[in-house]
Amino acid sequence: MQPSTQALQKDDTQNPAMLWVKAGEALWNKPEGAAAKSCASCHGEIGRMKSVATRYPAYSSTQAKVINLSQQVNLCRVTQQQVSQWPAEHESLLGLEAAIAKESRGLPISPPTQSQLADAQTRGEALFNQRIGQVDLSCRDCHETLAGRKLGGNVIPQGHATGYPIYRLEWQSVGSLQRRLRGCMTAVRAEPYAHGASELIDLEAYLAKRAAGMKLETPGVRP
């Protein structure tokens, strides 16, 4: 990543993703639904969300499956606030997810020890190693074997998902990790999985295991 992109990420007064974080922080306190409950009504001030994002994706016993942070936010909207869930990539969903994850900035990524999560990580690793698309490359081919080499004008990164949701200069907006992963799939001319598909959650779970111990840096800025 170029020094100018890093500088943009490091300075909260310049990082455009802070506009989304600010919106998310306002939503945290906004009453919703018939009972007029805000996230803060149950969870207290947003600072109490410290370290939560370092543990996602995680197994949810109520859902009996592994879910990511944005799914947890939507879950609280539906089951706790009794309002409709936001669709994938909705501005408000990204804002809340970014605001929650920012509370864990600088903390190590720490997937919990859960057998169901371990299964998801194993499935995710298999997907990571599988060659896909007309270009016939796996995630591993690019992000491990070819990391540091160039693809077009871009340096291929190691593919550690430490800054999500990110502000991507190419998108000119904030987007989720799933949007990023779908982009990589389209780039090798593979059919991307739909937003929220279990395969994407499995990949997210494996990426978190692979990046365990690295510091969360949300909201990240990428080229």
């Binding site: 310049q14 455009p16 506009l19």
Partner: protein, 119 residues
């Protein structure tokens, strides 16, 4: 209402040169792009940004001006990136209010104010 992020030091020493930063959430749609369906996306640009400084009027003063002095202005065009960020400097001489405004297509007219205390 566009979201904004303005950074101004809360206080400044007299004659100190301070840095002011203003970030605004805006798509800066050029009017030249097409959607995935092939339709032209309508142009939606910020046209002009201004920052004015309104000195705090002393109670016994007869001054009545509230428009303030223009301290920075910029005209925007297509090809400026989305969510434009500006930074500029001001010599702080007296306490007062900074008035930021963004104007543009589709009736955009947004004003934000931040007060500055000069000790």
């Amino acid at each position: 209402m566009a979201r904004t992020l303005i950074t101004v030091p809360r206080t400044a020493r007299r004659d100190e040169i301070i840095e002011i930063r203003a970030l605004v959430q805006h798509s800066m749609e050029t009017g030249y792009r097409r959607s995935s369906e092939g339709d032209l996306l309508p142009r939606d640009l910020i046209r002009r940004f201004t920052c004015r400084f309104v000195p705090r009027v002393a109670a016994n003063s007869s001054a009545t001006s509230t428009a303030g002095d223009l301290i920075f202005a910029a005209t925007f065009h297509a090809a400026i990136a989305a969510n434009p960020y500006l930074s500029f400097n001001l010599r702080a001489t007296t306490s007062g209010t900074l008035v930021f405004s963004w104007e543009g297509d589709n009736g955009l007219a947004q004003t934000e104010t931040v007060s500055l205390l000069v000790a």
